[in-house]
Symmetry: D2
Subunit: 252 residues, 4 copies
């Protein structure tokens, strides 16, 4: 299996190194293509206004002066010869959770989605803690998932969003399939002044969980389980289409 690894914390992030190290044990090849610096919050942004540059580090990791999506896009279709074309994309290990609405903004999840847009199975993995320690736990979980990946039949255009409690591996209680929970809106932006007296606005932190009961990704992680949520790239709200059509008919 040829594995392409990326992330949004940047090429020097410890979670990236831990993931590459663990996956090298089983893989035919592991290629790492990651942003040259922290691009957390990049979502699925693509760099269209300038050409990107690839820099190969002593570690063999490749950095790109772009977004996580750029990295996977180049890793799948631009940088490597056909015989090293990846079979799967893994994004992470993110330093911090990607739960509920976080997935909309997350560069970690976006990197996996880009893999899926390039027709590859893709996994995003995050370690759930503000000061994460147990990257090797998350790395080992991903390694086990990959070992059995071939037997998994997933709907097309679906990625797996994996969140791992920041615990030693032997304290992980198991793996739960979950739905995304939901956060309250975050706090209002923090108003401040620059030294020249001009008003500035800091986007504040994310909100507290609003829907975090049993069945959600929030709940699983809080209980000490790995959470895996299948995410769909097709955002069509199918069940809402009829109602919308009725409303439009009345309008005409």
């Amino acid at each position: 299996m040829h594995i392409l690894i990326s992330n949004d914390d940047g090429v020097y992030a410890p979670g990236l190194a831990a993931l590459a190290k663990a996956l090298q044990k089983d893989a035919k090849s592991v290629c790492v293509v990651a942003p040259d610096r922290n691009r957390s919050g990049a979502s699925n942004s693509l760099t269209l206004d300038r050409p990107l540059e690839a820099h190969t580090h002593d570690s063999g990791f490749i950095s790109i002066n772009g977004t996580p999506t750029d990295c996977v896009h180049l890793g799948v279709s631009g940088l490597f010869s056909a015989e090293r074309k990846p079979d799967v994309v893994v994004s992470g290990i993110n330093a911090g959770a990607n739960l509920g609405d976080d997935v909309i903004y997350s560069g970690t999840v976006a990197a996996a989605m880009e893999g899926r847009n390039c027709s590859l199975p893709a996994i995003a993995v995050s370690l759930c803690s503000f000061h994460p320690k147990h990257f090797e736990t998350a790395a080992e979980i991903v390694r086990e998932l990959l070992q059995r990946l071939e037997s998994l039949v997933l709907a097309p255009r679906t990625v797996l969003n994996v969140n791992v409690p920041d615990l030693p591996l032997d304290q992980i209680k198991g793996i739960h399939v979950t739905r995304l929970g939901h956060r309250f809106a975050g706090e209002a932006p923090v108003q401040t002044q620059d030294p020249r007296g001009r008003t500035r606005y800091w986007i504040a932190g994310t909100g507290e969980p609003a829907d975090s009961g049993p069945g959600t990704d929030f709940y699983a992680v809080a209980e000490g389980y790995v959470s895996i949520t299948p995410l769909q790239i097709d955002m069509t709200h199918y069940s809402g289409m009829d109602n919308l059509a009725l409303w439009l008919e009345e309008m005409n």
Copy 2:
């Protein structure tokens, strides 16, 4: 009705001005908060590493040195007093279509999603042409939708993605509710060299439509209809959860 308008083409874009002009006819207030420059392809990226600045132009439009998501976030919760808090968010009029997979990368759609994340109804609107001319057509369509918005019952956390053919209003055949189509993967990145001999990679254009038959947004627009797709913010792939759980059981 208090309306917040944003976009991803930037505060000087003609589509933004056309939208604001049309909506001012009926609204109690129209506030425009848009990026200070073109941020196409920004997706849902949020600016977390620096505080943002708001600049009020002679036109009354406010520009932010950030992303479309930043603009809506500040427009809903930071910039205005409580009595001007918006009732609805409209994003656009984008100069170019946002069909199928485009919605993942689109800053226009992201601005609407941020409105919804802030608990407001939200509409993204795009004019489908590389050199768009008939912004007033799209503006008029949105105006009509807003006039009847109160009677629309949408599932929570859903936005409307509206794509309008670039035609005079009287040549529009009607409005169709659609699902997102799907594009083939785009072409491989274009390899080039900078003047110092280093290799660079341009992300190439989006792919051709792969799934664009009847029922899709691609089809509706190509046939001369306005396409409206309800998009859900919750990306959980519910119908894939059971299969995934079975697979995991075998693993344990």
Copy 3:
């Protein structure tokens, strides 16, 4: 005379428009090439890591997604045909003074220096006020200087740095040739915290004048005179060379 105008406040700045308007009265052609947004403090930075894009506005002004130096570089040697090659570069009118040590950091002065590096006479002009009003005063002063430019013999690789008091033209007392004054070091950076509790440092304002007596640019402007300082691009400190050589001899 073909005139190339640039600035560092960006293509939408009122000082740029005022300058272009005034110089169009006498010139054979006036071309404006300016940054697409405020690039104050850009100094002589050049954009080497991405190719630049030129956008022509309805006003005829051209904006570049780069620095003031980029703008002049492209304006002199890339954008225009040979018959419109500029004879002189004028940078400004900057909204705020460029006095003393400011010239090191100033994008306005850098744009003029780039003109000189391209072998053209070049003038930087700034209006000395935090909330400048009388752009037409500065514009008129530049126009008069240009009318007589051909009779000025300047040392090679020298630019003129012009600072104008923010007064109506008839209240300007005259023009003084000055040397650069000198500021005290600015205040220490302002320490602050972002909403996630991380320490941040704002570079604070510039220092107060330390050397601002008669003969300096600070003094002339404070007294109501236009200040013109000839600046050299060759930074060699010739008179210090002998002393340095002696010191090195002792070392060997």
Copy 4:
């Protein structure tokens, strides 16, 4: 002696590490504050539109998400307690020459100038080769200069610009005090097209030396000598002031 080291190639550059290693032998303390990524060509640009963040690496080096000038500014006056306030600023070792007109655009030289603006002696050091190898040669030269720095009487507001041939130390012929040479204007920008068919302009390389005879920095390095040029921060062209004043008198 407390030494502050910065550069413009970024915190991960090998020239920075080589310099820090060599200077640690003699110094009371060595603090490294460098940009978080390559900022070549940054000149004296200062970051005024956002607060900066300092990140301490495992190596003890501190990176700033800003320019070389920002780094020195914070290193002198914001980051360290009074007892570790630096006595001298050294910038480099740049991977590539900074000769003649290069100093105007150079972030390496700018970092030294900022040290001098903060009233400290300051040295910029560059290794003259496109693929530099002998960083330890340049490091050793700087170390020797610093050992004797206290006996050097330099004019106020002067920095030393040191360029070292890329040779083993025992092949260096000596040290010459030089004046800045001068380059021809660089080639015209390279016109290219992005994948969406829009014209783009790459700033091309610097020009060939035009004034590179005996006495210049170009000449010394080409002959196998270290070049040291004293640079002045005061850009007033004193000897041109009288001529300019005469010209203005005729105007009135």
